[in-house]
């Protein structure tokens, strides 16, 4: 009996994610979203409830896609090669919304205000870190990395390196791929 919405919800969330990722939370106004999503305010609020709610969905998609891509990479070329290639892949795309990680951008922007989205970002970062730890452990099981290392410690440092790389990649005149290579080399030395 009801009328169906004439949009693809998943597509809208992806476009919102790209906009939020690039411009940040306060840098993205509802007017921006209305223009990008081709929605009037009424439809927007009927569909998503609030700007924050959509931002939450956008971050969720960002993380899910990231976890999935990493898993695919690991399936294709093994855990240690995935970990080595991941940094370069994270910054290689020229048409990505931003070089920096959406989660770190959100955390830095909203943490001081104790905004719920900052906490969400923090939890998502932890989720990523757990997958890194998982890959480090798999690499240890495969005998590719010394087993005396704690995979959680390795993952924490790896995550930190990755975040630094992706901030550096936002800068002009910085050869970020060289930094990515150094991170990869660091893994080889473990």
């Amino acid at each position: 009996m009801p009328r169906k919405p004439n949009f693809d919800r998943n597509d809208l969330i992806e476009r919102a994610r790209d906009l939020f990722w690039k411009r940040g939370w306060s840098g993205t106004s509802l007017k921006d979203l209305e223009a990008e999503l081709q929605m009037k305010p009424g439809s927007f609020y009927a569909a998503f409830g609030s700007k924050d709610a959509l931002f939450g969905l956008a971050m969720q998609k960002y993380v899910n896609d990231g976890l999935e891509h990493l898993r695919e990479l690991a399936d294709k070329c093994g855990p240690i090669n995935a970990l080595k290639q991941w940094p370069a892949k994270a910054i290689e795309s020229d048409n990505a919304p931003a070089k920096a990680c959406m989660l770190s951008k959100t955390l830095l922007e909203l943490n001081a205000h104790n905004h719920p989205l900052a906490e969400q970002a923090s939890l998502h970062l932890l989720k990523m870190e757990e997958q890194f730890a998982d890959l480090f452990q798999q690499a240890q099981s495969a005998g590719e990395i010394d087993k005396t290392h704690d995979p959680l410690v390795l993952a924490r440092k790896y995550q930190s390196d990755l975040l630094g790389l992706r901030v550096s990649a936002e800068r002009d005149g910085i050869n970020a791929q060289a930094i990515a290579q150094e991170i990869a080399d660091g893994i080889s030395r473990l």
Copy 2:
């Protein structure tokens, strides 16, 4: 003949810096600044011209203080020890406005809008990097670091590590001091 302002300009800039550092550019409203600086709008604009102008002065002070502290540390305990201790020092203070670097926060927040302050932040980061490179070179001259390394490359990676550390330090439940220690250990291995 004129009346003197009844405030200490340098003190105002420091307090503005702390507020901007903690809350970011768009997270700090003029109302916030008026409250923190105890200034009415008229005085504020007479003294600083605009929010952006004050933000620029605040970043300038942030960098100058950073460069000076690093130089002092290097004078006190030598270039390589300064480089080793710096990461831990950057995140140790509990009453600092934020763990993350003000320059990286500004860059991430404003880069997508091509805001002049993002460019300023980028230049300031380069300035810091140059001082790091200088210390690496001094350490090489003193025979403390292998001379085959390019100090500019070392500095770039060091800066990236530092930025990552300071983003990680914003997260809850992360032992950032352990990451700082790993960065220091990395320098020892050079």
